[in-house]
């Protein structure tokens, strides 16, 4: 599964994108954020306050309880500040 990161989530993790093989049991966005947090200090830092980090599945905004099965691209990013 392809995962992309933006803004300070990208900076904290230290990469803009990666492809990961997910273990069984990672079913939702919240599960994925939790699993990523365990991959190292940089991930734990990025997801330190998981409520702040937003997510998108295949370029659509989703909530933390959204199932990720079948997703091609999942994005994590801070609240948006465009406009």
């Amino acid at each position: 599964m392809r995962i992309v990161y933006f803004a300070w989530v990208r900076e904290r993790i230290g990469k803009a994108e990666e492809t990961v093989d997910l273990p069984a049991g990672v079913a939702t966005i919240a599960d994925l954020a939790g699993w990523l947090s365990g991959r190292g200090e940089e991930y734990a830092h990025a997801f330190a306050d998981p409520k702040v980090v937003r997510a998108a599945i295949d370029r659509h905004h989703v909530k933390a309880d959204a199932p990720i099965a079948g997703a091609r691209e999942i994005a994590f990013f801070p609240p948006m500040t465009g406009g």
């Binding site: 803004a7 998108a56 990013f77």
Partner: protein, 156 residues
Amino acid sequence: MASTIRLQSEDFDVAAETAALTRGRVDIGAVVTFTGICRASEAGHDVAAMTLEHYPGMAEEEIGRHVAEAERRWPLLGVVVIHRHGRLVPGDNIMMVAVAAAHRGAAFAAAEFLMDYLKTQAPFWKKEERRDGSAWVAAKSADDAAAERWAKALEG
């Protein structure tokens, strides 16, 4: 309805975009434009420059979804949304919205609706260059509240 959505690093010309929106049309009676401009001061600190990061692909799609929603809510005759990315300095244009309709009510309302949603839902992030280093701009709860009132208006 004709709509134009562009993401670009280069500047845009509001007058030229507005003229293109109305050229050859005699049904348009109102055009409302909004231009967002980079400020030199934000919440009490100086801003030397800002860099706008975006999510390519999703940014265009998300703006397109809001333009489609605006079209469902109001009788619009044309929409232009242009958002820049990359490094901008104070005085530079950041983005513009232009909405054309037969009457001003729909044009004003749709322009405000689009701005309120773009602020909170379009995947763009601003990083400011300040005297003491650079920092990501924090999202404002006032912007969330502005977007939420449209959802309430829909429910009501």
